[in-house]
């Protein structure tokens, strides 16, 4: 063991991705396949008075047209997490229909599906459908939706709330705030984001009448979850007669976790017409139908004693959930947000309240980081602002308040004020390393010099912590999850000694084909080439929960290790028999069982062959060598780090240039450093995108103003500096690999670092806060107003 883990092995999956030979859903062509186009509401809130499909039904090539009326008897899309009101009232879950019948509740709500012989015919026929809409009043902002007299999203819910929620100790937080020497209070908006995976969502429903069986090909992060939700909760079709396949998926960032109406719609329609039905989102359609992320309006205050020690934190958030509850929507602004408000600090009292609010917008759910970026952003903006207000150095103020180092083995885990127990951490160490890499003291001097020359250089910090590897099923169950959150693995040793590893995790860019193979290769002492990682097919893989929340290696990887242990355990029995030795006398090194102290040994391949050709086999032992494991972790994992951004603002134009970006992460043990670096780089780009460029903008009528790439600004390579990435390692004490997860860290930590840096640059002008994204115009206006 130890030859592969820790090596930057080049990604084995990249060849197919960069040569155009990946197998994405839209690449699949089935015999007799039809093509669907979905007619969507162009209005954010409208009564549907009539839908006339007569002309469309008789158009060239049209096979079928279905409307909201036709699917009204089918259940709506379910929610996978229940968050009840603080007074005990159960969460309000209005029906999320496959197609709307009476009212459209956001731009992009599906009104009818047209199925034709070709995509072009389906599209053309949709233009022939006549929908008579009566436009109704609209609310797009969560806080405005709570005001008396606001337009109602669902007729039966006068205050537009799905739930309210609280966590922490209100009395303690009030007391801590009352005795504070200094209080920093901020109104913080975390803007709405659109995931923009490079592959738009794509589905094929394929019903086989001969076998009475359904297959759904879907660009999903978690095919088993989709199968369960669709079969048991929406369509009421038998789970064992339904296969869900997600082979290659071109990015998800959270947006492909959720069960979408179109998945159920193509599956149902395929059964109706007894032919396969394919639907692939257009990019403009993806903008208004893929679940969005973030969208919090928050008021937060942090109290400090006269020495700068935090005394209390109070937070209230109105979280915009969109028009319907998406699959995990209720969990994001609650259990994945409020629970992270401890950050890296010893804050003795915390209280958070949240309203989950319906609006006439696209549903909001998990987006890279999911709750944790929102928590980190407000904490890191608060402490930075507080440092400036109290005349303290922002790095020192953070270090003064850091939780002391603990390894989770010799020292216990750290119990937070907000329900979690951190596994292990050394927060000061990542900060110190980041300061060293940056050369902090020299840089402050440079900043001073630059200011004298009228240049605006800023240094911004962000010390983040997140919860990954979600999590013990019993814990999440007690918090309202309607699912378990373990992971599955199956290791099938083939007679020739080659190994097929089936994982319930799902790779949509993460590089599991490589990382998981490295883990298996090391544990079995065999070559990387002799291992195949298989995911994304419910008929091949044991029931798995899929990939999100940076959980694949910590949970899915651990499941693989557990199954590999079982393989080795049985292999040892076979080897002992063949070597005529006792199991206790064997050691397994480099793919061979050796009788200790002798040169008698037998290789993994020979044991594999003997297991399938069991002519000479231990008595009572079953032939074959294949094991499953379901790994349910003991806790979340808690990666952390400190990021420092250095920016220069062009005061004439308001443009921000990132001069340097130092990221020091601690994600526990690292299997493939290159892949971890890649994850960090991608995350940083995404988080910086939120800080400077991205943001979904709705106008007052509920139209998505930023509905194309002409207006929605994605970060590009030339917007970004060359990142300076470094790491510390504090192993996770509770999983066999000691890993914590790295998929979201960059996106969580980078956003506040950038905003803090820009505000730091402009502080001499009296600028204290800016709302994201920090577009040149916004920054220029702030400078302009400050000068005026």
């Amino acid at each position: 063991m130890g030859k592969m883990i820790g090596e930057s092995i080049k990604r084995v999956e990249d060849h197919r991705f960069i040569t155009g030979t990946g197998e994405y859903t839209d690449d699949i062509v089935l015999p007799r396949m039809t093509h669907a186009y979905i007619l969507r509401s162009h209005l954010a809130h409208a009564k549907i008075k009539s839908v006339d499909t007569t002309a469309a039904k008789s158009a060239d090539g049209v096979v079928a047209v279905f409307t909201g009326e036709d699917v009204a008897h089918i259940n709506g899309i379910p929610t996978g997490w229940q968050v009840n009101f603080t007074d005990g009232e159960v969460m309000r879950e209005p029906k999320h229909p496959l197609l709307v019948k009476d009212k459209a509740l956001h731009v992009g709500d599906g009104v009818a599906i047209v199925i034709a012989e070709s995509k072009e015919q389906a599209r053309d026929a949709a233009d022939l459908i006549e929908v008579d809409y009566e436009e109704l009043s609209v609310v797009v902002d969560a806080s405005k939706a709570l005001e008396a007299g606001a337009p109602m999203v669902h007729d039966e819910l006068p205050d537009n709330r799905a739930f309210d929620w609280q966590l922490g100790d209100k009395v303690a937080a009030d007391t801590g705030m009352a005795k504070a020497h200094h209080v920093t209070k901020m109104r913080i908006r975390n803007q709405r984001m659109i995931a923009n995976a490079i592959e738009p969502r794509s589905y094929i429903g394929d019903y086989s009448k001969a076998r009475d069986k359904y297959t759904l090909y879907t660009s999903s992060q978690n095919p088993h979850v989709i199968r369960l939700l669709m079969c048991a909760f929406v369509l009421g079709i038998p789970e064992h007669k339904t296969r869900v396949v997600s082979k290659d998926v071109g990015g998800g960032f959270g947006s492909k976790i959720f069960h979408y109406a179109e998945e159920a719609l193509v599956t149902w329609a395929s059964q109706q017409i007894a032919r396969p039905v394919k639907w692939t989102a257009e990019r403009s359609e993806a903008f208004v139908t893929d679940a969005h992320g973030r969208d919090h309006n928050t008021i937060a205050e942090m109290g400090f004693d006269k020495d700068g020690n935090i005394t209390a934190l109070r937070v209230h958030t109105d979280a915009n959930l969109g028009a319907y509850l998406s699959t995990f929507a209720p969990a994001i602004p609650t259990y994945l947000y409020g629970t992270l408000l401890q950050g890296q600090y010893v804050t003795p009292a915390i209280h958070v309240t949240v309203n989950g609010v319906f609006t006439h917008t696209t549903p909001v759910d998990a987006y890279r980081g999911a709750g944790r970026p929102e928590a980190t952003y407000l904490l890191e903006r608060l402490i930075d602002t507080a440092a400036a207000e109290m005349g303290m150095d922002p790095a020192e103020l953070r270090m003064k308040n850091f939780i002391p180092a603990f390894d989770g083995v010799e020292q216990p885990g750290y119990q937070t004020q907000v329900a979690l127990q951190y596994d292990s951490g050394d927060y000061e160490a990542t900060m110190r390393k980041a300061l060293d890499v940056l050369g902090y003291n020299d840089l402050r001097k440079e900043q001073e010099e630059a200011r004298k020359q009228g240049r605006y250089i800023g240094i911004g910090f962000s010390s983040y912590i997140e919860a990954c590897g979600i999590a013990p099923s019993a814990v999440v169950g007690s918090l309202g999850a309607r699912a378990g959150l373990y992971e599955s693995a199956n290791v099938r040793v083939q007679p020739t000694g080659k190994v097929s590893v089936h994982t319930g995790s799902h790779s949509h860019g993460q590089g599991h084909d490589t990382t998981f193979a490295q883990v298996a290769a090391d544990h079995l002492g065999i070559a990387l080439e002799d291992i195949e990682i298989i995911h994304g097919d419910t008929e091949q893989v044991p029931f798995g929960m899929g990939t999100y929340g940076s959980r694949s290696l910590a949970v899915g990887g651990s499941a693989i290790v557990k199954a590999l242990d079982k393989v080795k355990e049985k292999g040892a029995k076979v080897a002992a028999h063949l070597l005529e030795a006792s199991e206790q006398d064997l050691e397994y090194i480099d793919g061979k069982w050796t009788v200790k102290g002798t040169d008698k040994s037998i290789g993994f391949g020979e044991v594999a062959l003997a297991s399938y050709v069991p002519h000479n086999f231990p008595e009572g032992l079953e032939p074959g060598i294949e094991f499953n494991s379901f790994y349910d972790p003991a806790n979340f994992t808690y990666p952390f780090g400190t990021y420092i951004a250095v920016v220069e603002v062009d005061a004439e134009t308001g443009t921000t240039e990132i001069k340097r970006f130092v990221a020091v992460d601690d994600v526990g043990n690292v299997v493939n450093p290159m892949i971890v670096d890649g994850q960090v780089h991608g995350g940083l780009a995404q988080g910086i995108g939120q800080a400077l460029l991205e943001g979904a903008v709705y106008d007052e009528s509920g139209q998505l103003t930023t509905g194309t790439y002409l207006d929605y600004a994605m970060p590009r390579a030339d917007d970004l500096p060359s990142f300076e990435v470094d790491r510390n390692v504090t192993p996770c004490p509770h999983n066999p690999l000691g890993v914590k997860g790295c998929g979201e860290a960059g996106a969580i930590g980078s956003t506040p670092a950038i905003v803090n840096a820009v505000v730091d640059a402009l502080r001499p002008l009296g600028i204290k806060d800016l709302e994201m994204p920090l577009t040149p115009q916004k920054v220029w206006a702030a400078i302009h107003n400050a000068n005026a």
Partner: protein
Amino acid sequence: MVPVAFEYHRAGSVAEALSLMAQHGEDAKILAGGHSMVPAMKLRLSTPTTVIDLGGVSDLKHITDKGDHIAIGAMATHWMVESSDVISAKAPALRDAAASIGDVQVRNRGTIGGAMAHSDPAADYPGPILALDASMVIQGPSGQRVVSATDYFVALWETAVQPDELLVEIRVPTTPMNANSCYEKFAQPASRYPYVGCAVAVDKSGGTCSDVRVGFSGVGHVGFRDSNVEGALKGQALSAASIKAAADTATNGVDVLSDWSVSEDYRRAMSRVYARRALTKVGL
């Protein structure tokens, strides 16, 4: 992203294109590089019944030094303009503009003639075309005519090209003043169209501005020459102060575009900053 069905014709020559246009009338659209038109068709914002493709018209793809001017065929791609040695040496403002359009793939397909005929108010070329005092060769059923840059841009989406005519060539004079030109662009971060694009050409013999042309892209409903700036600088000794004073008059009296992402005030202010930067670059 499926356009409405249309009839497709590929013209082999300008004459054939003009005859196809005559045959199909106003329902026909001319396809050059297609980088504005095809997305508009896929979004069904544009629904021509006939498309006449100029891709096969090989004699529109030239960039030739004709001595007193550079002749640029309408089907020359942005990449050809960007990488042309003669344009780089004698009309750098045009090279700067071409190089700032989209990405390499877009520049390999998109054409200068297509962009000029489309006349998107947000496009890059109008500023440099005006600042370089280029002229456009337009061919119709009755032959060719030449239109000056100032007469070419008529209004939003409208140029001097008539429905039965084609833009066939752009002629850029090879004067010393044009050799001393540049295009400075402040790109919108999403589309990378200009918030402001300012092209200038300066004749600065003896440290004095004996002549100057300033053309703006992306600022008004149509590309325009800024007579305020030109008037303020012409005849002045060139200095940081004279340039700033002139640049600060930019867009006076001009209607400036605004939208959800950029206010009129901001665009006006940026026009002045970019005019100053462009004038400083080639004026000092």
